[in-house]
Protein backbone atom coordinates (compact mmCIF):
# COMPACT_ATOMS: atom_id res chain seq x y z
CA UNK A 1 0.00 0.00 0.00
CA UNK A 2 1.36 3.43 -0.94
CA UNK A 3 1.91 5.25 2.38
CA UNK A 4 0.99 8.59 0.78
CA UNK A 5 -2.48 7.30 -0.15
CA UNK A 6 -3.39 6.17 3.37
CA UNK A 7 -5.71 8.02 5.71
CA UNK A 8 -4.31 9.71 8.82
CA UNK A 9 -6.00 7.26 11.21
CA UNK A 10 -4.76 4.19 9.23
CA UNK A 11 -1.23 5.57 9.37
CA UNK A 12 -1.63 6.21 13.10
CA UNK A 13 -2.79 2.62 13.64
CA UNK A 14 0.06 1.07 11.62
CA UNK A 15 2.62 3.20 13.43
CA UNK A 16 1.13 2.25 16.81
CA UNK A 17 1.17 -1.46 15.84
CA UNK A 18 4.77 -1.23 14.70
CA UNK A 19 4.01 -2.06 11.05
CA UNK A 20 5.32 1.36 10.01
CA UNK A 21 7.62 3.79 11.79
CA UNK A 22 7.08 7.52 12.18
CA UNK A 23 10.38 8.38 10.40
CA UNK A 24 9.51 6.04 7.52
CA UNK A 25 6.08 7.65 7.09
CA UNK A 26 7.47 11.19 7.36
CA UNK A 27 10.20 10.41 4.82
CA UNK A 28 7.60 9.05 2.38
CA UNK A 29 5.60 12.29 2.49
CA UNK A 30 8.74 14.43 2.29
CA UNK A 31 9.69 12.44 -0.81
CA UNK A 32 6.30 13.13 -2.36
CA UNK A 33 6.66 16.84 -1.57
CA UNK A 34 10.09 16.93 -3.21
CA UNK A 35 8.62 15.25 -6.27
CA UNK A 36 5.40 17.26 -6.66
CA UNK A 37 5.81 20.63 -4.98
CA UNK A 38 7.79 22.27 -7.82
CA UNK A 39 4.78 21.70 -10.11
CA UNK A 40 1.92 22.39 -7.66
CA UNK A 41 3.51 25.13 -5.47
CA UNK A 42 1.58 23.86 -2.46
CA UNK A 43 4.20 24.42 0.26
CA UNK A 44 5.82 27.76 1.07
CA UNK A 45 8.11 26.13 3.65
CA UNK A 46 8.98 22.44 3.96
CA UNK A 47 10.10 21.45 7.45
CA UNK A 48 12.39 18.62 6.38
CA UNK A 49 14.91 18.57 9.25
CA UNK A 50 12.42 19.54 11.96
CA UNK A 51 9.95 16.89 10.78
CA UNK A 52 12.51 14.04 10.68
CA UNK A 53 13.84 15.03 14.10
CA UNK A 54 10.31 15.21 15.53
CA UNK A 55 9.43 11.85 13.92
CA UNK A 56 12.47 10.21 15.55
CA UNK A 57 11.50 11.58 18.98
CA UNK A 58 7.88 10.41 18.60
CA UNK A 59 9.05 6.97 17.43
CA UNK A 60 11.18 6.64 20.57
CA UNK A 61 8.12 7.32 22.73
CA UNK A 62 6.02 4.82 20.76
CA UNK A 63 8.77 2.18 20.98
CA UNK A 64 8.91 2.71 24.77
CA UNK A 65 5.18 1.92 24.88
CA UNK A 66 4.04 5.43 25.82
CA UNK A 67 0.33 5.96 25.26
CA UNK A 68 -0.05 8.69 22.65
CA UNK A 69 -2.92 10.02 20.53
CA UNK A 70 -4.39 7.94 17.64
CA UNK A 71 -2.51 10.25 15.25
CA UNK A 72 0.92 10.06 16.88
CA UNK A 73 3.66 9.87 14.27
CA UNK A 74 1.36 11.12 11.49
CA UNK A 75 2.51 14.12 9.44
CA UNK A 76 0.26 17.15 9.02
CA UNK A 77 0.60 20.25 6.83
CA UNK A 78 -0.22 23.59 8.46
CA UNK A 79 -1.60 26.65 6.66
CA UNK A 80 0.96 29.45 6.66
CA UNK A 81 -1.15 31.84 8.74
CA UNK A 82 -0.74 29.66 11.83
CA UNK A 83 2.33 30.47 13.95
CA UNK A 84 4.98 27.76 14.25
CA UNK A 85 7.86 28.40 16.64
CA UNK A 86 11.12 28.86 14.77
CA UNK A 87 9.52 28.17 11.37
CA UNK A 88 8.76 31.01 8.98
CA UNK A 89 5.09 32.01 8.98
CA UNK A 90 4.40 34.33 6.08
CA UNK A 91 0.62 34.53 5.52
CA UNK A 92 1.73 34.36 1.86
CA UNK A 93 2.55 38.06 2.13
CA UNK A 94 5.57 40.24 1.47
CA UNK A 95 4.69 41.89 4.78
CA UNK A 96 5.67 38.74 6.70
CA UNK A 97 7.94 37.04 4.17
CA UNK A 98 10.78 36.70 6.73
CA UNK A 99 8.71 36.53 9.92
CA UNK A 100 9.74 33.73 12.27
CA UNK A 101 7.30 33.41 15.20
CA UNK A 102 8.81 33.17 18.69
CA UNK A 103 5.92 30.95 19.80
CA UNK A 104 3.62 28.16 18.64
CA UNK A 105 -0.08 28.73 18.06
CA UNK A 106 -2.16 26.77 20.57
CA UNK A 107 -3.34 24.39 17.81
CA UNK A 108 0.29 23.72 16.80
CA UNK A 109 1.29 23.02 20.40
CA UNK A 110 -1.62 20.60 20.70
CA UNK A 111 -0.61 18.80 17.48
CA UNK A 112 2.96 18.45 18.76
CA UNK A 113 1.79 17.24 22.20
CA UNK A 114 -0.29 14.61 20.37
CA UNK A 115 2.84 13.44 18.54
CA UNK A 116 1.85 14.73 15.10
CA UNK A 117 4.64 15.81 12.76
CA UNK A 118 4.46 19.31 11.24
CA UNK A 119 5.67 18.60 7.72
CA UNK A 120 5.40 22.06 6.17
CA UNK A 121 3.55 25.38 5.82
CA UNK A 122 1.06 25.58 3.02
CA UNK A 123 0.39 28.21 0.40
CA UNK A 124 -2.69 30.37 0.74
CA UNK A 125 -4.29 33.62 -0.34
CA UNK A 126 -2.48 36.57 1.23
CA UNK A 127 -3.69 37.08 4.81
CA UNK A 128 -6.46 34.57 4.00
CA UNK A 129 -8.16 37.08 1.69
CA UNK A 130 -9.16 35.37 -1.50
CA UNK A 131 -10.79 32.35 -3.08
CA UNK A 132 -8.19 31.08 -5.56
CA UNK A 133 -4.71 31.38 -4.05
CA UNK A 134 -3.82 33.93 -6.70
CA UNK A 135 -3.23 36.70 -4.18
CA UNK A 136 -0.28 34.76 -2.69
CA UNK A 137 3.05 36.63 -2.74
CA UNK A 138 4.66 33.28 -3.59
CA UNK A 139 2.45 32.59 -6.62
CA UNK A 140 -0.73 30.52 -6.69
CA UNK A 141 -0.86 26.87 -5.78
CA UNK A 142 -2.12 24.72 -8.65
CA UNK A 143 -4.87 22.13 -8.69
CA UNK A 144 -3.25 18.67 -8.68
CA UNK A 145 -5.86 17.28 -11.13
CA UNK A 146 -5.52 20.18 -13.60
CA UNK A 147 -2.65 22.59 -13.08
CA UNK A 148 -4.45 25.21 -15.17
CA UNK A 149 -7.06 25.44 -12.39
CA UNK A 150 -7.06 26.76 -8.86
CA UNK A 151 -7.27 24.44 -5.84
CA UNK A 152 -9.39 27.18 -4.25
CA UNK A 153 -8.77 29.51 -1.36
CA UNK A 154 -7.77 30.68 0.96
CA UNK A 155 -6.65 27.25 2.29
CA UNK A 156 -5.91 26.03 -1.26
CA UNK A 157 -2.42 24.79 -0.40
CA UNK A 158 -3.72 22.65 2.47
CA UNK A 159 -6.46 21.08 0.32
CA UNK A 160 -4.06 20.44 -2.58
CA UNK A 161 -1.52 18.88 -0.18
CA UNK A 162 -4.08 16.28 0.90
CA UNK A 163 -5.41 15.60 -2.62
CA UNK A 164 -1.94 15.12 -4.10
CA UNK A 165 -0.66 12.86 -1.29
CA UNK A 166 1.93 15.36 -0.06
CA UNK A 167 0.31 15.17 3.40
CA UNK A 168 -2.32 12.81 4.83
CA UNK A 169 -4.08 15.74 6.46
CA UNK A 170 -3.76 19.48 6.95
CA UNK A 171 -4.96 22.44 8.98
CA UNK A 172 -6.72 25.32 7.30
CA UNK A 173 -8.60 28.36 8.52
CA UNK A 174 -12.11 29.38 7.50
CA UNK A 175 -13.29 32.99 7.79
CA UNK A 176 -15.90 32.95 5.01
CA UNK A 177 -15.50 29.50 3.46
CA UNK A 178 -11.75 29.14 3.20
CA UNK A 179 -11.63 25.50 4.32
CA UNK A 180 -14.86 24.31 2.75
CA UNK A 181 -14.45 25.80 -0.73
CA UNK A 182 -10.92 24.44 -1.38
CA UNK A 183 -11.95 21.08 0.14
CA UNK A 184 -14.84 21.10 -2.34
CA UNK A 185 -12.61 21.99 -5.31
CA UNK A 186 -10.08 19.31 -4.35
CA UNK A 187 -12.55 16.52 -3.60
CA UNK A 188 -11.49 16.09 0.04
CA UNK A 189 -13.22 16.60 3.38
CA UNK A 190 -12.84 19.94 5.17
CA UNK A 191 -14.57 21.17 8.29
CA UNK A 192 -15.06 24.52 9.98
CA UNK A 193 -16.01 23.73 13.59
CA UNK A 194 -18.46 25.71 15.73
CA UNK A 195 -17.10 29.14 16.69
CA UNK A 196 -15.29 28.84 19.99
CA UNK A 197 -14.44 25.14 19.65
CA UNK A 198 -10.82 25.76 18.61
CA UNK A 199 -8.41 28.40 19.91
CA UNK A 200 -7.34 31.18 17.56
CA UNK A 201 -4.29 32.08 19.67
CA UNK A 202 -1.33 32.21 17.29
CA UNK A 203 -3.55 32.27 14.20
CA UNK A 204 -2.74 35.45 12.33
CA UNK A 205 -6.02 37.30 12.54
CA UNK A 206 -8.21 38.24 9.58
CA UNK A 207 -11.81 38.26 10.90
CA UNK A 208 -11.75 37.50 14.60
CA UNK A 209 -15.50 37.00 15.11
CA UNK A 210 -15.77 34.78 12.02
CA UNK A 211 -12.82 32.45 11.72
CA UNK A 212 -11.91 29.03 13.02
CA UNK A 213 -9.06 26.63 12.43
CA UNK A 214 -10.22 23.31 11.01
CA UNK A 215 -8.98 20.06 9.46
CA UNK A 216 -8.74 19.01 5.82
CA UNK A 217 -8.34 15.27 5.27
CA UNK A 218 -9.55 12.33 3.15
CA UNK A 219 -12.26 11.17 5.57
CA UNK A 220 -14.71 12.54 8.12
CA UNK A 221 -13.14 10.24 10.76
CA UNK A 222 -9.72 11.83 10.17
CA UNK A 223 -11.28 15.29 10.55
CA UNK A 224 -12.94 14.26 13.82
CA UNK A 225 -9.66 12.85 15.18
CA UNK A 226 -7.79 16.07 14.34
CA UNK A 227 -10.53 18.21 15.88
CA UNK A 228 -10.37 16.15 19.09
CA UNK A 229 -6.68 17.08 19.27
CA UNK A 230 -6.82 20.79 18.42
CA UNK A 231 -10.02 21.82 20.19
CA UNK A 232 -10.56 22.91 23.77
CA UNK A 233 -10.83 25.94 26.01
CA UNK A 234 -7.73 28.14 25.99
CA UNK A 235 -7.06 30.91 28.48
CA UNK A 236 -5.19 32.74 25.71
CA UNK A 237 -8.35 32.95 23.56
CA UNK A 238 -11.30 34.20 25.55
CA UNK A 239 -13.73 33.28 22.74
CA UNK A 240 -13.15 29.56 23.30
CA UNK A 241 -15.80 27.56 25.11
CA UNK A 242 -15.44 24.61 27.48
CA UNK A 243 -18.00 22.36 25.79
CA UNK A 244 -16.89 18.75 25.48
CA UNK A 245 -17.27 18.30 21.74
CA UNK A 246 -16.13 14.65 21.29
CA UNK A 247 -16.17 15.06 17.54
CA UNK A 248 -16.15 11.38 16.56
CA UNK A 249 -18.76 10.26 19.05
CA UNK A 250 -22.05 10.51 17.17
CA UNK A 251 -23.63 7.56 15.45
CA UNK A 252 -25.63 8.57 12.38
CA UNK A 253 -29.30 9.07 13.30
CA UNK A 254 -31.51 7.84 10.46
CA UNK A 255 -34.56 9.86 11.39
CA UNK A 256 -32.82 13.16 10.75
CA UNK A 257 -34.63 15.89 8.86
CA UNK A 258 -32.44 17.57 6.26
CA UNK A 259 -33.22 20.89 4.59
CA UNK A 260 -31.83 21.27 1.05
CA UNK A 261 -31.25 24.92 0.16
CA UNK A 262 -32.55 26.45 -3.05
CA UNK A 263 -29.73 28.43 -4.73
CA UNK A 264 -29.90 32.17 -5.49
CA UNK A 265 -28.13 32.50 -8.83
CA UNK A 266 -29.98 31.83 -12.03
CA UNK A 267 -27.07 30.41 -13.99
CA UNK A 268 -26.33 26.98 -15.48
CA UNK A 269 -23.48 26.17 -13.09
CA UNK A 270 -25.54 26.78 -10.02
CA UNK A 271 -28.42 24.80 -11.50
CA UNK A 272 -26.02 21.87 -12.00
CA UNK A 273 -24.81 22.20 -8.40
CA UNK A 274 -28.41 22.34 -7.11
CA UNK A 275 -29.22 19.17 -9.07
CA UNK A 276 -26.18 17.50 -7.49
CA UNK A 277 -27.48 18.38 -4.01
CA UNK A 278 -30.82 16.74 -4.81
CA UNK A 279 -28.87 13.60 -5.79
CA UNK A 280 -27.00 13.75 -2.47
CA UNK A 281 -30.32 14.14 -0.68
CA UNK A 282 -31.46 10.82 -2.25
CA UNK A 283 -28.51 9.13 -0.47
CA UNK A 284 -29.82 10.48 2.83
CA UNK A 285 -33.35 9.34 1.95
CA UNK A 286 -31.92 5.82 1.41
CA UNK A 287 -30.40 6.16 4.87
CA UNK A 288 -33.85 6.89 6.32
CA UNK A 289 -33.79 10.70 6.50
CA UNK A 290 -36.60 13.07 5.65
CA UNK A 291 -35.70 15.63 2.97
CA UNK A 292 -37.30 18.99 2.32
CA UNK A 293 -36.31 21.83 -0.03
CA UNK A 294 -36.38 25.35 1.34
CA UNK A 295 -35.04 28.85 0.75
CA UNK A 296 -32.85 31.04 2.92
CA UNK A 297 -33.90 34.61 2.11
CA UNK A 298 -30.79 35.93 3.93
CA UNK A 299 -28.66 34.52 1.11
CA UNK A 300 -29.69 37.57 -0.93
CA UNK A 301 -27.58 39.81 1.28
CA UNK A 302 -25.39 37.56 3.44
CA UNK A 303 -22.31 37.94 1.24
CA UNK A 304 -22.51 41.75 1.45
CA UNK A 305 -22.93 41.55 5.24
CA UNK A 306 -19.93 39.24 5.42
CA UNK A 307 -17.84 41.57 3.24
CA UNK A 308 -18.58 44.58 5.46
CA UNK A 309 -17.92 42.78 8.75
CA UNK A 310 -14.86 40.81 7.62
CA UNK A 311 -13.28 43.84 5.93
CA UNK A 312 -13.93 45.97 9.04
CA UNK A 313 -12.32 43.38 11.29
CA UNK A 314 -9.44 42.88 8.85
CA UNK A 315 -8.74 46.62 8.65
CA UNK A 316 -8.47 46.66 12.43
CA UNK A 317 -6.43 43.44 12.69
CA UNK A 318 -4.00 44.47 9.97
CA UNK A 319 -3.38 47.83 11.66
CA UNK A 320 -0.54 46.16 13.54
CA UNK A 321 1.56 45.88 10.35
CA UNK A 322 3.36 49.20 10.60
CA UNK A 323 7.02 48.28 10.14
CA UNK A 324 7.84 48.93 13.81
CA UNK A 325 8.13 45.63 15.65
CA UNK A 326 8.10 42.94 12.94
CA UNK A 327 7.59 42.39 9.26
CA UNK A 328 8.49 44.48 6.27
CA UNK A 329 9.66 48.06 6.69
CA UNK A 330 10.01 50.46 3.76
CA UNK A 331 13.56 51.56 3.07
CA UNK A 332 13.00 55.19 2.13
CA UNK A 333 10.69 57.49 4.05
CA UNK A 334 10.71 61.05 5.32
CA UNK A 335 9.03 60.62 8.70
CA UNK A 336 7.19 58.04 10.78
CA UNK A 337 3.79 58.62 9.10
CA UNK A 338 5.43 58.16 5.73
CA UNK A 339 7.08 54.99 7.01
CA UNK A 340 3.69 53.56 7.96
CA UNK A 341 2.09 54.46 4.62
CA UNK A 342 4.91 53.19 2.42
CA UNK A 343 5.52 50.06 4.50
CA UNK A 344 1.89 49.10 4.25
CA UNK A 345 1.56 49.96 0.56
CA UNK A 346 4.68 47.91 -0.23
CA UNK A 347 4.05 45.03 2.16
CA UNK A 348 0.42 44.28 1.26
CA UNK A 349 -0.81 42.99 -2.09
CA UNK A 350 -3.71 44.55 -3.99
CA UNK A 351 -6.55 42.46 -2.55
CA UNK A 352 -5.38 43.02 1.02
CA UNK A 353 -5.14 46.78 0.39
CA UNK A 354 -8.63 46.66 -1.14
CA UNK A 355 -10.13 44.94 1.91
CA UNK A 356 -8.38 47.31 4.32
CA UNK A 357 -9.83 50.23 2.34
CA UNK A 358 -13.35 48.75 2.41
CA UNK A 359 -13.05 48.05 6.13
CA UNK A 360 -11.68 51.48 6.94
CA UNK A 361 -14.46 53.07 4.88
CA UNK A 362 -17.27 51.21 6.69
CA UNK A 363 -15.77 51.99 10.10
CA UNK A 364 -15.15 55.69 9.44
CA UNK A 365 -17.35 57.93 11.55
CA UNK A 366 -19.67 59.17 8.79
CA UNK A 367 -20.27 55.61 7.49
CA UNK A 368 -20.22 53.52 10.67
CA UNK A 369 -23.97 53.36 11.32
CA UNK A 370 -25.05 53.00 7.71
CA UNK A 371 -22.69 50.11 6.91
CA UNK A 372 -20.98 48.46 9.89
CA UNK A 373 -23.70 48.79 12.51
CA UNK A 374 -26.39 47.83 10.01
CA UNK A 375 -24.32 44.84 8.87
CA UNK A 376 -24.19 43.70 12.51
CA UNK A 377 -27.98 44.08 12.75
CA UNK A 378 -28.35 42.12 9.49
CA UNK A 379 -26.11 39.49 11.08
CA UNK A 380 -28.66 39.17 13.89
CA UNK A 381 -31.42 38.78 11.29
CA UNK A 382 -29.47 36.03 9.49
CA UNK A 383 -28.92 34.29 12.84
CA UNK A 384 -32.64 34.40 13.57
CA UNK A 385 -33.53 32.95 10.16
CA UNK A 386 -31.09 30.09 10.63
CA UNK A 387 -32.44 29.47 14.16
CA UNK A 388 -35.89 29.09 12.61
CA UNK A 389 -34.51 26.71 9.96
CA UNK A 390 -32.87 24.58 12.66
CA UNK A 391 -36.13 24.36 14.58
CA UNK A 392 -37.37 22.37 11.56
CA UNK A 393 -34.21 20.67 10.29
CA UNK A 394 -31.35 18.81 11.96
CA UNK A 395 -28.94 19.54 9.13
CA UNK A 396 -28.84 21.86 6.15
CA UNK A 397 -27.45 20.65 2.82
CA UNK A 398 -26.20 22.94 0.04
CA UNK A 399 -23.25 23.18 -2.35
CA UNK A 400 -19.97 24.28 -0.77
CA UNK A 401 -18.96 26.42 -3.74
CA UNK A 402 -21.22 28.48 -5.98
CA UNK A 403 -19.44 27.48 -9.18
CA UNK A 404 -17.32 24.79 -10.79
CA UNK A 405 -13.56 24.77 -10.17
CA UNK A 406 -12.31 27.89 -12.00
CA UNK A 407 -9.33 28.28 -14.27
CA UNK A 408 -6.44 30.30 -12.88
CA UNK A 409 -6.86 33.89 -14.01
CA UNK A 410 -10.61 33.49 -14.52
CA UNK A 411 -11.68 35.10 -11.25
CA UNK A 412 -9.41 38.01 -10.64
CA UNK A 413 -10.89 40.89 -12.60
CA UNK A 414 -14.27 41.55 -11.02
CA UNK A 415 -14.18 42.10 -7.25
CA UNK A 416 -17.94 42.17 -6.66
CA UNK A 417 -18.61 38.86 -8.42
CA UNK A 418 -15.77 37.30 -6.40
CA UNK A 419 -17.34 38.56 -3.18
CA UNK A 420 -20.78 37.34 -4.23
CA UNK A 421 -19.38 33.85 -4.87
CA UNK A 422 -18.88 33.31 -1.12
CA UNK A 423 -22.67 33.07 -0.87
CA UNK A 424 -22.97 29.43 0.25
CA UNK A 425 -20.37 29.50 2.97
CA UNK A 426 -20.57 32.85 4.82
CA UNK A 427 -23.71 32.21 6.89
CA UNK A 428 -21.95 29.50 8.90
CA UNK A 429 -19.20 31.99 9.79
CA UNK A 430 -21.57 34.86 10.61
CA UNK A 431 -23.55 32.66 13.00
CA UNK A 432 -20.72 30.40 14.25
CA UNK A 433 -22.21 27.11 13.01
CA UNK A 434 -20.28 23.90 12.29
CA UNK A 435 -20.04 23.29 8.55
CA UNK A 436 -18.29 20.64 6.50
CA UNK A 437 -17.61 20.02 2.81
CA UNK A 438 -17.51 16.46 1.47
CA UNK A 439 -16.86 15.20 -2.07
CA UNK A 440 -20.08 14.19 -3.85
CA UNK A 441 -19.19 13.83 -7.51
CA UNK A 442 -17.57 15.47 -10.51
CA UNK A 443 -18.64 18.36 -12.70
CA UNK A 444 -18.79 18.36 -16.51
CA UNK A 445 -15.05 19.22 -16.61
CA UNK A 446 -14.23 16.16 -14.50
CA UNK A 447 -13.40 18.31 -11.46
CA UNK A 448 -14.68 17.63 -7.92
CA UNK A 449 -17.89 19.01 -6.47
CA UNK A 450 -18.42 19.36 -2.72
CA UNK A 451 -21.65 19.10 -0.75
CA UNK A 452 -21.87 21.17 2.40
CA UNK A 453 -23.52 20.06 5.63
CA UNK A 454 -24.31 22.75 8.20
CA UNK A 455 -25.39 21.92 11.73
CA UNK A 456 -26.63 23.63 14.87
CA UNK A 457 -23.96 25.37 16.96
CA UNK A 458 -22.27 22.73 19.08
CA UNK A 459 -23.56 19.77 17.04
CA UNK A 460 -20.26 19.24 15.21
CA UNK A 461 -20.30 15.48 15.93
CA UNK A 462 -23.68 15.14 14.20
CA UNK A 463 -22.34 16.89 11.08
CA UNK A 464 -19.29 14.60 11.01
CA UNK A 465 -21.40 11.46 11.51
CA UNK A 466 -23.70 12.49 8.64
CA UNK A 467 -20.67 13.06 6.39
CA UNK A 468 -19.20 9.69 7.35
CA UNK A 469 -22.50 7.93 6.54
CA UNK A 470 -22.73 9.65 3.13
CA UNK A 471 -19.13 8.89 2.17
CA UNK A 472 -19.42 5.23 3.21
CA UNK A 473 -22.33 4.83 0.79
CA UNK A 474 -20.65 6.86 -1.96
CA UNK A 475 -17.11 5.58 -1.97
CA UNK A 476 -17.06 4.90 -5.69
CA UNK A 477 -14.38 6.46 -7.93
CA UNK A 478 -16.77 8.98 -9.42
CA UNK A 479 -17.12 10.70 -6.09
CA UNK A 480 -13.46 10.92 -5.14
CA UNK A 481 -10.29 10.70 -7.22
Amino acid sequence: MDITQMTALSLGAEIREGKLSAPEVTAAFLGKIEQKNPEYNVFITVCRDEAMSQAAKVQEKISRGEKLSPLAGVPIAVKDNICTLGVKTTCASRMLSDFVPPYDATVVKKLKDAGMIIIGKTNMDEFAMGTTGETSFFGAARHPLDTGRTPGGSSGGSAAAVLSGMAPCALGTDTGGSIRQPASYCGVVGMKPSYGAVSRYGVIAHGSSLEQVGPIAKTAEDCAAILDIISGIDERDSTTDNKNYDFGADKFGEKLKIGVVQGVFANAEEQALNDKMLECAKTYEKLGCEIERFSITSLDYAAAVYLIISAAEASSNLGRYDGVRFGHRAEAFCDVECMFEKTRAEGFGEEVRRRIMIGTFVLSSENYDKYYRNAQRARAKISEELDRAFSKYDLILCPSASKFVPLLGQEMSDSVSRYRSDINTVCANLVGLPALSMPCGLDKNGMPIGAQLIGRKGEDAKVLAAAKAFLELNSKEEVRR
Binding site: E235, S238, G327, R354, S364, N374, A380, K381, S415, Y419
Partner: protein, 94 residues
Amino acid sequence: MKKTEEIIDRTAKLARLSVSEEEKLRIKDDFAKILEYIDEIAALDLAGYEPMASACGNENVFRVDEAVNGLSFSDALKNAPQKDGGFFVVPKTF
Protein backbone atom coordinates in the same frame (compact mmCIF):
# COMPACT_ATOMS: atom_id res chain seq x y z
CA MET B 1 -22.14 60.78 -2.45
CA LYS B 2 -18.61 62.07 -2.73
CA LYS B 3 -16.65 61.30 -5.83
CA THR B 4 -14.90 57.93 -5.60
CA GLU B 5 -11.46 59.52 -5.87
CA GLU B 6 -12.10 61.72 -2.84
CA ILE B 7 -13.32 58.68 -0.92
CA ILE B 8 -10.17 56.76 -1.87
CA ASP B 9 -7.95 59.67 -0.74
CA ARG B 10 -9.64 60.07 2.64
CA THR B 11 -9.91 56.32 3.30
CA ALA B 12 -6.28 55.70 2.35
CA LYS B 13 -5.19 58.43 4.77
CA LEU B 14 -7.20 56.84 7.59
CA ALA B 15 -5.81 53.40 6.71
CA ARG B 16 -2.22 54.68 6.54
CA LEU B 17 -1.85 53.33 3.01
CA SER B 18 -0.17 55.39 0.33
CA VAL B 19 -2.05 55.18 -2.97
CA SER B 20 -0.33 56.48 -6.10
CA GLU B 21 -2.25 58.53 -8.70
CA GLU B 22 -1.82 55.67 -11.16
CA GLU B 23 -3.27 53.14 -8.71
CA LYS B 24 -6.16 55.43 -7.83
CA LEU B 25 -7.17 55.67 -11.51
CA ARG B 26 -6.82 51.93 -11.89
CA ILE B 27 -8.95 50.96 -8.88
CA LYS B 28 -11.59 53.68 -8.80
CA ASP B 29 -14.18 51.97 -11.03
CA ASP B 30 -13.87 48.69 -9.17
CA PHE B 31 -14.01 50.53 -5.81
CA ALA B 32 -17.13 52.40 -6.91
CA LYS B 33 -18.80 49.07 -7.77
CA ILE B 34 -17.89 47.69 -4.35
CA LEU B 35 -19.42 50.73 -2.63
CA GLU B 36 -22.55 50.24 -4.71
CA TYR B 37 -22.61 46.57 -3.70
CA ILE B 38 -22.40 47.22 0.02
CA ASP B 39 -25.12 49.85 -0.34
CA GLU B 40 -27.52 46.87 -0.62
CA ILE B 41 -27.44 46.85 3.19
CA ALA B 42 -29.23 50.20 3.24
CA ALA B 43 -32.31 48.65 1.59
CA LEU B 44 -32.81 46.01 4.29
CA ASP B 45 -35.61 46.17 6.85
CA LEU B 46 -33.69 45.75 10.09
CA ALA B 47 -36.25 47.17 12.49
CA GLY B 48 -36.09 45.47 15.86
CA TYR B 49 -32.68 43.86 15.32
CA GLU B 50 -29.84 44.69 17.71
CA PRO B 51 -26.26 44.54 16.40
CA MET B 52 -24.70 41.08 16.71
CA ALA B 53 -20.95 41.41 17.17
CA SER B 54 -20.08 37.75 17.43
CA ALA B 55 -21.34 34.19 17.66
CA CYS B 56 -19.40 33.85 20.91
CA GLY B 57 -21.51 33.50 24.02
CA ASN B 58 -18.77 34.62 26.41
CA GLU B 59 -18.68 37.94 28.23
CA ASN B 60 -15.89 39.50 30.27
CA VAL B 61 -13.57 36.52 30.49
CA PHE B 62 -10.82 37.38 32.97
CA ARG B 63 -7.78 35.50 34.17
CA VAL B 64 -6.49 35.52 37.73
CA ASP B 65 -4.77 38.84 38.52
CA GLU B 66 -1.29 37.34 38.90
CA ALA B 67 1.87 38.55 37.16
CA VAL B 68 3.14 36.04 34.59
CA ASN B 69 6.07 36.31 32.20
CA GLY B 70 5.37 37.02 28.56
CA LEU B 71 7.85 36.96 25.70
CA SER B 72 11.47 37.53 26.65
CA PHE B 73 13.17 40.71 25.41
CA SER B 74 15.19 38.76 22.88
CA ASP B 75 12.13 36.90 21.53
CA ALA B 76 10.14 40.11 21.28
CA LEU B 77 12.94 41.79 19.33
CA LYS B 78 13.74 38.79 17.10
CA ASN B 79 11.80 40.08 14.09
CA ALA B 80 12.49 43.78 14.57
CA PRO B 81 13.38 45.62 11.34
CA GLN B 82 15.80 47.75 13.40
CA LYS B 83 16.82 47.38 17.02
CA ASP B 84 19.32 48.73 19.53
CA GLY B 85 19.88 46.88 22.79
CA GLY B 86 16.44 46.28 24.27
CA PHE B 87 14.68 48.80 22.03
CA PHE B 88 12.87 48.88 18.69
CA VAL B 89 14.36 51.71 16.62
CA VAL B 90 11.90 53.92 14.70
CA PRO B 91 12.04 57.35 13.04
CA LYS B 92 11.42 60.15 15.52
CA THR B 93 7.74 60.56 16.26
CA PHE B 94 7.69 64.25 17.20
